[in-house]
């Protein structure tokens, strides 16, 4: 019904190879983009600040980890730390050169994360799978230790936390407490959309193909002439770049300040769960996973209030934990390959509906 393709003919190779070959998909994406960019017109502060901005930032971090784990097959537990590198780099950059456009610094901080990520990616040439996860765990602990112990990173602040100063772009306040949620949302959305688009292009090009070849069988990839070290290090660097930008966005446009504890191992696990549930090796999966893990608990918390059931806040919290846990198990049983796979199966069904074969 929704996916009737009658009359859509591919008349060139380009249209056949398009990322969204079906007209309905293109319309859908356009509608989502328009809706996303016009959201500030009709959503309140809570939706923007506590739901959408975090969701987009988590989606970006998930894309970052997905490039590494989903597309290149390198398991990493250092995501939280790489996000931290981005955040602290951005903080240092903007405190040393306060006059430079903050968005430039947010993007630049990704390069610092990329450098650190590439260094901690070095063991990936020798070790694989779970063993690599342990090696990246070292990155997590080492970097977290740095965030706590190296006072220079947080400008010798007594509390050890970083506080985001006010910065303007073209006369509009973008960071700091006085930035409106609309501004921050639009900035985050623009960066996340642009970086998703770049990631998508990366994945459909030569680089993405070499990564997937390495993921599927690295010896075969090597025999085909793919040099493993540069490929894997590039995957680590690009992935960390994404995580770093996500971390900088998180502190500068969402939290407005951060303690080192924000970038702890739990953060890494959260992102890892997002991509596992969303679907490894899928950009859509990064969004779906972030939505399920981050937005669902918030929505669940409001359900009793809407229904007018008086229960205590803590009880709601416990119930939310349980429901989210059950849903995760449910989705993984129904479709171990993640929500993105569930969506593509559903789409396939819709395309042939009502004549399944």
């Amino acid at each position: 019904m929704f996916y009737r393709e009658a009359g859509q003919f591919k008349t060139s190779y380009a249209s056949d190879q398009a990322i969204f070959p079906i007209l309905q998909d293109r319309i859908g994406i356009a509608v989502i983009l328009v809706a996303a960019f016009s959201l500030p017109l009709y959503a309140n502060d809570f939706i923007l600040n506590a739901v959408m901005i975090p969701f987009l930032i988590f989606a970006l971090a998930s894309i970052g980890l997905n490039l590494l784990t989903g597309y290149t097959g390198q398991l990493s537990l250092g995501t939280g730390a790489f996000m931290g590198v981005g955040a602290y780099a951005c903080y240092k950059l903007t405190s040393i050169w306060p006059d430079v456009n903050i968005i430039v610094w947010v993007i630049c901080s990704g390069f610092f994360a990329a450098g650190v990520g590439a260094i901690f990616g070095l063991p990936s040439l020798r070790i694989k799978g779970f063993y690599l996860a342990i090696a990246t765990l070292a990155a997590q602990f080492f970097l977290e230790w740095c965030f706590i112990r190296i006072a220079w990173l947080y400008n010798y602040n007594i509390s050890g936390a970083i506080e985001v100063p006010q910065r303007t772009v073209l006369g509009v306040i973008v960071t700091g407490p006085r930035a409106t949620s609309e501004t921050r949302y639009i900035v985050v959305l623009a960066i996340v959309v642009a970086m998703t688009w770049i990631a998508s292009n990366l994945m459909h090009g030569r680089i993405g193909r070499t990564w997937m070849a390495v993921r599927d069988m690295d010896i075969a990839a090597e025999l085909m002439g793919i040099r493993l070290l540069p490929t894997k290090l590039m995957a680590f660097a690009v992935s960390s770049f994404y995580c770093g930008v996500a971390g900088a966005l998180m502190v500068f446009l969402w939290y407005g300040g951060a303690e080192p504890a924000v970038f702890n191992i739990n953060q890494s696990f959260t992102i890892l769960f997002m991509i596992i549930i969303g679907g490894l090796g899928s950009l859509l999966g990064a969004y779906l996973g972030a939505a399920l893990i981050y937005i669902l608990p918030i929505v669940l918390r409001f359900v009793p209030e809407w229904l007018g059931i008086p229960i205590h806040a803590a009880t709601v919290e416990h119930i939310t934990f349980m429901i989210v846990g059950v849903l995760i198990v449910f989705f993984l049983i129904v479709e171990p390959a993640g929500l993105a796979r569930l969506w593509s199966i559903g789409k396939q069904k819709l395309r042939v509906w009502p004549f399944p074969y």
Partner: protein, 444 residues
């Protein structure tokens, strides 16, 4: 077919919109007091009694007096789990409902909320926690930390140690160990500790405890065993406290030389060490036990009617009373705000003025039904948002806490310059920090 799609789309959008607006609808004829609490997560053992105390006192005011000034209080808990992320989320969810005051009950969350307070016009009452420098009312008109800052607390502990050693001059050459939760909270007192060490000539040994190892602490106490500091001072929270008390007694550290700040002195904290914890000291500024008319009222109107979540044997324990103390300040601030503005239903901006004119004398404590519950709170002014009030030392006798000292006044002369410096530094770093524009009310 197209039409059907459009209808579906509109229906979905409508559903979402109603959901959004349904959550916004709010009666405007009550006073909204959100409570940021945590009954879940690693710090729940400290959070639950405080949450119960705060909730029950305000509920009691509703039941007994019909609210404050004849207006019902709308008390609503928001679960933070001591997680900064959720704390900020709570702030976003309450800010559109005209909250009177926010009690974050976490230093980490407080630090995040301080810049937002002046923008959203919601005062923050961080009772004896949070940013010490926020006591400077000139720079932080929206943040309050009565009755004393961490730095006041540390100076009281050093004073107490000095007294036991026979004068502050006797501290020379002594070693004081400082075991702390390695987060904004535990690190806050270090600058003053180092300053005092320089002034009095004692040595400081730091034992940081990371959040993830707070239930272990074996390596820290091994170092304590090796270093043998003369006194141990603790800035712990949540599961860190009972563990530290237990480890100290296991390692044979003399418990009467082990002093916790007021956040390390709950009944559960000391009970963790069992009988061996006898002698453990902690600061406290709220009353012990249930022997106060107002606490009895809570029992009568709230607990006995099944409107509280408190377990019977935990009623009116140390942290429960701390929660009560916190909400007494909130209630007084609301009363002041009503008097100042003449309005019945007050909002954040009014309560900020109410907090600034907070003035609870001994007689007023008695009037409120808390004779001798706490020291007078008379030091708050527009310039001083903390009051720098004294606290007393309590000691664990194996079963319960016993008051063992009179009010110890903080070393205001040492703390004040540091506070001013820290506030100035904070304001300098945060470019675009708003200048205080709020007028100052006469004390009531």
């Amino acid at each position: 077919m197209k039409v059907r799609q459009v209808i579906m789309g509109v229906a979905c959008a409508g559903l979402v919109a109603t959901a959004i607006y349904a959550s916004k609808a709010q009666a405007a004829d009550d006073i909204y007091v959100p409570l940021f609490t945590y009954r879940t997560g690693p710090y729940a053992n400290s959070g639950i009694p405080i949450a119960n105390g705060m909730h029950d006192y305000l509920t009691m005011l509703n039941e007994r007096d019909g609210g404050i000034g004849g207006v019902k209080l709308n008390v609503e808990e928001c679960e933070t789990g001591y997680d900064t992320k959720k704390g900020v989320e709570c702030w976003e969810s309450v800010k559109s409902k005209n909250p009177t005051v926010v009690n974050p009950f976490s230093t980490g969350i407080t630090l995040q909320l301080i810049p937002k307070a002046s923008v959203d016009k919601i005062p923050i009452l961080s009772m004896a926690y949070g940013l010490s420098a926020a006591a400077v009312g000139k720079d932080f008109p929206w943040v309050f930390n009565p009755p004393a800052t961490y730095w006041d607390g540390l100076s009281m502990i050093i004073k107490y140690i000095g007294e036991k050693e026979g004068g502050l001059a006797k501290l020379k050459g002594k070693t004081i160990g400082y075991i702390f939760l390695d987060a904004g909270y535990g690190r806050e007192p270090i600058p003053l500790l180092e300053q005092l060490a320089k002034d009095y000539g004692f040595n400081v040994k730091l034992y940081p405890v990371a959040g993830k190892e707070m239930q272990d602490q074996s390596s820290q106490w091994l170092s304590v065993r090796r270093d043998r500091p003369n006194w141990m001072v603790m800035w712990g929270w949540g599961a860190m406290n009972p563990t530290a008390v237990k480890r100290a007694s296991e390692n044979g550290y003399p418990m009467d030389h082990f002093i916790g700040v007021w956040w390390s002195g709950s009944d559960d904290d000391a009970r963790g060490g069992g009988k061996a914890a006898k002698g453990y000291l902690a600061l406290n500024f709220s009353g012990l036990g249930s022997n106060y008319p107002a606490i009895q009222d809570i029992k009568k109107y709230v607990v006995d009617k099944g409107k509280s979540q408190v377990e019977k044997d935990k009623f009116a324990d140390t942290f429960y009373n701390r929660g009560v103390y916190n909400t007494v300040l909130v209630a007084e601030a609301i009363r002041n705000a009503q008097k100042l503005t003449g309005k019945k239903v007050v909002v954040g901006e009014d309560v900020r003025r109410g907090l600034e004119t907070l003035h609870i004398t001994e007689a007023r404590w008695k009037e409120l039904g808390f004779p001798g519950f706490a020291g007078p709170l008379t030091g708050i002014s527009c310039a001083d948002h903390s009051g720098h009030q004294g606290a007393y030392m309590q000691q664990w006798d194996g079963d319960k806490w016993v008051k063992v000292s009179n009010l110890i006044e903080p070393m205001k002369d040492k703390v004040e310059p540091l506070l001013q410096d820290a506030a100035k530094e904070y304001v300098d770093k945060a470019t675009g920090w708003p200048k205080r524009t709020e007028a100052c009310d006469k004390a009531m």
